[in-house]
Symmetry: C3
Subunit: 269 residues, 3 copies
Amino acid sequence: MKRSGIITVLTDFGISDPYVGVMKGVMLSINPDAKIVDITQNVRAGSILQAATFIHDTYRFFPEGTVHLAVVDPGVGSDRREICVEAGGHIFVGPDNGIFWHIIDGHKKKKVVQLTEKSFFLSDVSDTFHGRDIFAPVAAHLSKGAKSKSMGILIGDPVKLDFPKAQVDKDILRGQIIRTDNFGNLITNIHKSDVLSFLETREPIINIGNVEIRRLSDNYSNADSGEILALINSSDMLEIAVNMGRASEYVGLSNNEQIGMEITVGRCE
Amino acid sequence: MKRSGIITVLTDFGISDPYVGVMKGVMLSINPDAKIVDITQNVRAGSILQAATFIHDTYRFFPEGTVHLAVVDPGVGSDRREICVEAGGHIFVGPDNGIFWHIIDGHKKKKVVQLTEKSFFLSDVSDTFHGRDIFAPVAAHLSKGAKSKSMGILIGDPVKLDFPKAQVDKDILRGQIIRTDNFGNLITNIHKSDVLSFLETREPIINIGNVEIRRLSDNYSNADSGEILALINSSDMLEIAVNMGRASEYVGLSNNEQIGMEITVGRCE
Amino acid sequence: MKRSGIITVLTDFGISDPYVGVMKGVMLSINPDAKIVDITQNVRAGSILQAATFIHDTYRFFPEGTVHLAVVDPGVGSDRREICVEAGGHIFVGPDNGIFWHIIDGHKKKKVVQLTEKSFFLSDVSDTFHGRDIFAPVAAHLSKGAKSKSMGILIGDPVKLDFPKAQVDKDILRGQIIRTDNFGNLITNIHKSDVLSFLETREPIINIGNVEIRRLSDNYSNADSGEILALINSSDMLEIAVNMGRASEYVGLSNNEQIGMEITVGRCE
């Protein structure tokens, strides 16, 4: 695979600590020509689910041959493995804890390598910051053209992600809120294709908390100001929003309570 | 216009969602040599006024031929137009909702193009994320040298911004707080030139809330620690600050109440 | 010293205001090939101590010849000096207020230059934003190869930092919390070498607030979920953490109270 020279970075390190800056220094020391792009450093602390979703939603918008470094790693220093994954024309580097499961599960042709070759690591590897000592140097070497095969051993049993799936239960499509975004939009785990095959030509009856919504809008302006609406978002997922407002406040739950909240789609018969 | 190869990015998307990362991926896929610089992704959600102020305050510090991508776009998917603006040696790309009004209004020589040429967009354009599907690809093409003329049709009626202007009312110069910054400094809409022409050689009597300030300081240290002061800031606007403290707390109003709060300047006769 | 072409940026400006974006524009106007890397813009407002710690913890992970721009500058516009420092193969630019003291104090061979040569500044220098008007342009010129000697006069009395040091007091090693990170980990001013030489082969008795910890863990997983633990972190400092939790909440103090909180290490005799 040809390399784009780009390395994306996704972590739950936040941006107030210098941890991400240090990883960038390590990468530029190995590949001074690397182009480093932040995806986000604000993944919810330890949320493998959110990291996996973000990786899946973003990688395809980068040129083929991009290296995606992802460090959401609550098990750092334990016996969880370090891996890199080649699939879909991209390379992914991070802990083997499920964050790359959407990528691995979504591609027939793929390669998962356990990183064992220490010559690609920093010379001193701490027990608490593999982002700096293992993953950043490996990502930098990969972005320069090092082959993943040379970095360790192929494995066939990467850790799976237990992702909550939307399901049809008699005449109801059941899903849940998996994330609220910066605008207070509520993003569900119900994919456009689930909605379309469930509704066919019928109109929806969407219920979330005490709120009922009886149509799918095209965009955020497609409702009165302050009115709640449902739409298929730019990542092809069902989303609840309020025109010029925050759906997260509209449904009256705290940030933490929203994650996992049930949403159902019925059909107008 | 020669291109600098730089693209600046300003949005209200925040940095916890991967939206800005995705736009960068789109841009680097089109122009791998683009140098992308964040202005801020934390514009107050939907605040066209704040976006317009930030664009005006920053663009001139970049080399000529820089492309400034700005996506504060509460009307995405509605019939608001997409535009690019050439003025003052720079190019601006975003929604036609007033965010570029300071630029358009401030230059006699300018070109405003409605973006209609779909070959510069992503092949699928969503109704909810024009930042990714229209503005990012257009910005990338412009940064590589594509001509704005080739992207659509010249328009003469871009949307104006209703910016609150400072005004002299008898013996009082009246303005308002338009922003508080990271240090709790209160930034007004009163320009240095308004203050100087109003005061001439006289000393000011500045009132904000219950506070009165009777001189202009040169810098933040030009008062006792914890004391409130007024100065002309580095963007040439009247600003209220507290040495080693937060003026926003000093005047005793919440963040939301501060925006729009009246400030008056009188003269010692 | 050869230049790496990299400029790191550390400030307390936050990322909601466009101040850092403007500094990057200034630098790219002078050195279009500069590679600019954020360390953090979220240093606690005015905290010279935190800035000094971050600079010390990060610079060595960048290639030699990197320019480190640091603007935590509560005294901007006063008579505090502007300096650049060459030491350890790196160059540092910022106010002379102690932020570079760890660098200066830690190297026998060093050069501290007071920046007096105005031709390296922007043509108009404000009293309130030296980051933009002095430090950014100087950093950009240095990154292109300008010699620090040509920028001013060598000084021998840079401002020292009054850094709280861990101390042995009879049979107790006393230190304090100097920072909490994004994960709620409590980072102390007690260095690994202090701990090792104090304990020799004995086991520790670590006290913080009402909590006692009787061993050093290797990593965050090295305790039951929710259990508090102590370890030597990736910067070689003693750190208090909770496996899958937040030590900052565990010890029951607010963010502000944690800074400066005493921590003691005793010995099992």
